[in-house]
């Protein structure tokens, strides 16, 4: 079943690439595959035994035996949620791309499907080399998606994005070689814990760039601004979670000692990123800038939760990963819809869009309210758990986190009011319609997921680690 989840989108990608379909049939085929993927995930969710926990639906075949590298995939309870986030967001973005009509549809849809398979692969790989292969495979479609279909500054954006990411990934490759050979296996389940600080830092470098953590976020604003809205949604919503997953699955679980030794500096960087990202988001002149920098802030917060390494922090960070995935995907898609109408994302030229556009206003407002973590929202639950978790590691961290919640309220409200309220901006004409049914069809399910999580955040927090003991599960390396 796990293998099916990986192979289905890859096979669909190949079909879309090879068959000479027209724009409509290529798009429908891709959307159909993405929806089938969601269906399989629902099956997985229903059949996953949360009471037992641990690795389920695993599939292991030798890839090359002399170094004990295998194709080993499987699903842990918390990966179920991350896969769910991936397949839902990917389906929504593919649907949006189909509706918006991208040039060279077959190539575009194939790349999106390929990306889906690679991301699901990252969340399910239980072999270090396989994990690396999927981690890198994500980059190939992203590179083209940003570079070919991006805005005018796409060349610089892709170059920066690839060089940053690969610098981290290659350090991780060196770390994987050293770690795997010294333990004589590359199997993530079998491999023992290590106390080597260098190997740990190799992994952390890769994830810190991908997330990104301050000060390694240089690629982020360009990549998020220059790519098409749905690709930005995938980048910030899903791809960044691969990094958080890596922190959790490898850096913390396999390197408990170095993770302990480096806790203070990593928490400090995450906290700086949280505050700095929030401030930049507050100052950003355009829609995408706000969402991009808020993504930097949120990834800092999630990293804090992971490196708190206790039950509260881990539960909170998994919940927040899913929350932020849906929130930023929705916001980027909405930003794309606004840009489509106003032909600009500059906040100074927008405004007053609420009048006569109730659907847009409602969706943006709802997502915004959840994003700023008002009590009863799922983001509030996630952030509160993370803060409670880091509080146990030192009250100072929690104070910084709480400060960031205030900043989040500031930038979200600024965004919402700049787009929806105030007097009508020069870029907004009366001809700009409210969201079309197709746009609603894309965004409403994402917001519905957020509302569902707000109603029942325990769906994730109590079903992510065995018996709700994340700390114990992670220390036992998820066995």
């Amino acid at each position: 079943m796990t293998t099916l989840l990986i192979v289905l989108p890859l096979a669909a990608a190949l079909i879309v690439w090879i068959l000479p379909l027209n724009q409509v049939s290529a798009g429908s085929l891709a959307l159909l595959a993405a929806l089938a993927e969601v269906g399989i995930w629902i099956q997985l969710l229903v059949r996953y035994d949360f009471a037992a926990g641990g690795l389920q639906f695993s599939d292991r075949r030798s890839w090359f035996s002399d170094l004990d590298v295998s194709y080993h995939v499987g699903v842990y309870a918390f990966s179920v949620w991350l896969i769910g986030l991936t397949v839902i967001v990917m389906a929504a973005t593919i649907a949006y791309a189909f509706w918006a009509g991208r040039e060279r549809t077959r190539a575009y849809m194939g790349l999106m499907l390929f990306l889906t398979g690679a991301i699901v692969g990252v969340f399910t790989a239980q072999d270090l080399l396989l994990f690396y292969a999927f981690f890198e495979a994500m980059l190939i479609p992203l590179y083209v998606l940003v570079g070919v279909w991006g805005g005018p500054g796409r060349m610089g954006a892709t170059l920066k994005f690839v060089l940053y990411t690969m610098a981290g990934s290659l350090l991780m490759l060196a770390a994987i070689v050293v770690y795997g050979l010294s333990e004589n296996t590359f199997d993530l389940v079998k491999i023992g814990q290590s106390s080597s600080q260098w190997i740990f830092l190799g992994f952390v470098a890769a994830f810190a760039i991908k997330a990104p953590l301050f000060p390694l976020h240089g690629w982020l604003p360009d990549a998020y601004r220059e790519s098409s809205p749905e690709v930005a949604a995938v980048l910030s919503g899903v791809v960044s979670k691969a990094a958080a997953y890596g922190f959790l699955r490898i850096a913390v679980a396999k390197f408990p000692e170095p993770a302990h030794d480096f806790r203070a500096p990593i928490l400090a960087l995450a906290a700086v990123g949280l505050v700095y990202g929030s401030l930049l988001a507050f100052r950003a002149p355009d829609l995408r800038g706000v969402v991009a920098y808020s993504s930097l802030a949120q990834m800092g917060l999630i990293t804090m939760g992971v490196f708190a390494v206790n039950d509260l922090g881990l539960d909170g960070s998994v919940l927040q990963m899913v929350n932020h995935g849906f929130i930023s995907a929705t916001l980027f898609l909405l930003a794309g819809m606004v840009e489509r109408r106003a032909l600009t994302g500059e906040l100074g030229r927008l405004g007053g869009m609420a009048r006569g556009r109730p659907a847009l206003a409602t969706l943006l407002m709802t997502t915004g309210v959840i994003a700023l973590a008002v009590p009863l929202s799922s983001a509030f639950a996630g952030e509160f758990l993370i803060l409670a978790g880091v509080f146990q590691r030192g009250w100072g961290w929690a104070v910084v986190g709480a400060l960031a919640m205030v900043l989040a309220a500031m930038y979200v409200l600024r965004l919402v009011s700049a787009v929806l309220h105030r007097e009508v901006g020069p870029a907004v004409s009366d001809a700009a319609l409210d969201l079309r049914p197709a746009e609603l069809g894309v965004t409403v399910p994402l917001v519905a997921c957020l509302l569902a999580l707000s109603v029942w955040p325990a769906a994730i927090t109590q079903h992510s680690f065995r018996g709700d003991h994340g700390g114990a599960d992670v220390s036992a390396q998820f066995k």
Partner: protein
């Protein structure tokens, strides 16, 4: 010499790949006089291809039947799996090279000679990889080098072709002379010509022997185009006809590295502490020079030439590991590398034929969308060179790093990783040029009509694509082949 001058027992079966290629060369040469001009090209190309195909078949049969490696023809050459696996790579490369060459427009005259020389070069290489003493080694080296010198110059009206050939001749001749002088010193020090004999007679750190060893390493460095012996590479790769460049980059490099490993491991085990360090230093040089010089290239062939220097560096890391794992890494690496390299040059050849001018980053613009098969293949080849997953280049690099780490050289892993990072700039630069720039944005010379269909070249490119990607998935069978081949060497 310990051998009496009796007539040695000849194992004709073991010589079959070489003889098949020699026969093909001879028949192709006869075509030049006996076959009427309209059919000459087809017949000679078919003969050359048949020679390579038969040689490939014999190499496979020999691989299967040579589980126990042993010397043949008075121990002058070895019949073992190591040689046969290399022979398979050479024969496969030759076959693909014929496919790339077929439509080369400029070569309507001397076409039979061209295919004859191409087959003869392959025969020399198949002989070279089996060499078991310094005489046969040098003989085979000159044999295939002479063929390649002429092949580089065969298009006399090609801009830079003669210059390239002359440069190759002079520098290659210098490299051969260095190798020969080194061989003489080794013979002087040990009184033996065959590799096991040198190992048996050689004393540790004998000055004369070490000098000879150093010169032999330098000689191989020239052939494998490893820095600092690389200076001929960019000019020759650029000036030679592109199909010849493709063949050289895949096959010459393969045999030079494979034979270097065999000589170093079998003949110089005493001085392993010296040559492993020397090879590691050369590897680092190659990585640095190859990658940094490739960054500033404007023509694709020169970029690929420098990239081949950097790949020599990667493969020399595997040689320097001096272990069974290293040998496995080298042999595995060569398979996707040869395919990737042939494929990349084939795409360059296709573009060259369309435009009629040297292929640069600029005039590759839009190519990916115009010719999807070639464009996507080129994309895959660039990812393969850069060591991205879904290509065998990734697993190859992983094995090389594993071998270096097992040898205790973590620093070499770091150097390799950094070199890979630098290489991304120019490999992805080409992808960028092909897919992300629009043809209309650039002031290009008008092409004039649609390019001629070239089914053979496209088939060759597709075959290379299949090997490049397939070697990522089929690691186990390839590693098993490489493992059995590496067992022929005394580790």
């Amino acid at each position: 010499m310990q051998h009496s001058f009796g007539r040695p027992q000849v194992d004709w079966f073991a010589l079959a790949p070489v003889n098949a290629l020699l026969l093909a060369a001879a028949l192709a040469l006869l075509c030049a006089v006996l076959v009427p001009r309209p059919w000459r090209k087809d017949v000679s190309a078919a003969l050359c291809a048949a020679g390579y195909a038969v040689a490939f078949g014999f190499a496979v049969a020999l691989y299967v039947r040579s589980a126990q490696g042993h010397g043949i023809v008075a121990d002058a050459i070895r019949r073992d799996r190591f040689a046969e696996l290399a022979g398979m790579i050479v024969a496969g490369s030759g076959l693909v090279a014929v496919g790339i060459s077929y439509r080369e427009r400029a070569r309507e005259d001397h076409v039979a000679e061209y295919y004859s020389l191409l087959a003869a070069a392959g025969g020399g290489m198949a002989f070279f990889v089996a060499a078991n003493n310094l005489m046969t080694l040098f003989l085979a080296l000159e044999w295939f080098s002479l063929c390649l010198y002429i092949l580089c110059a065969i298009d006399r009206d090609r801009l830079g072709g003669l210059e390239a050939a002359l440069k190759y001749l002079v520098i290659g001749g210098f490299g051969s002379a260095v190798l020969l002088f080194g061989s003489a010193l080794v013979y002087g020090a040990t009184g033996a010509l065959d590799f096991p004999g040198i190992a048996a007679a050689g004393a540790e750190h004998d000055t004369l022997l070490v000098f000879g060893l150093a010169m032999i390493i330098a000689g191989f460095g020239f052939k494998a185009s490893a820095a600092p012996f690389h200076m001929w590479t960019p000019d020759v790769y650029e000036g030679a006809p592109t199909p010849v460049t493709a063949f050289m980059s895949a096959a010459t490099k393969t045999v030079a590295l494979v034979v270097a490993l065999r000589v170093l491991v079998t003949a110089f085990p005493h001085d392993a502490d010296l040559w492993t360090v020397a090879i590691a230093v050369i590897a680092v040089f190659s990585l640095v020079v190859g990658n940094f010089a490739a960054l500033v290239q404007k023509t694709v062939k020169r970029m690929l030439a420098y990239s081949s220097i950097s790949h020599a560096g990667f493969m020399l890391i595997a040689v320097a590991a001096n272990s069974a794992l290293g040998a496995r890494a080298l042999l595995y690496y060569l398979v996707p590398y040869a395919a990737t390299s042939l494929g990349a040059f084939a795409v360059v050849a296709a573009r060259e034929r369309e435009l009629g001018v040297p292929v640069t980053y600029e005039n590759m613009a839009g190519f990916g969308w115009e010719r999807p098969l070639l464009g996507i293949s080129m994309w895959a080849f660039m990812l393969g060179f850069a060591g991205f997953p879904l290509t065998g280049g990734f697993v190859g690099k992983f094995y090389v790093f594993a071998a270096a780490y097992r040898h205790g050289w973590t620093w070499l892993v770091i150097v390799g990783v950094l070199a890979t990072l630098v290489s991304l700039y120019y490999y992805l630069g080409l992808v960028r040029a092909m897919f992300m720039r629009r043809t209309e944005d650039l002031q290009l010379a008008p092409i004039g009509g649609s390019p001629p269909r070239d089914a053979l070249l496209q088939t060759s490119v597709f075959a290379c694509l299949v090997v490049t990607v397939g070697s990522f998935f089929a690691v186990q069978p390839l590693i098993d082949l490489a493992k059995h081949a590496a067992n022929s060497l005394p580790f």
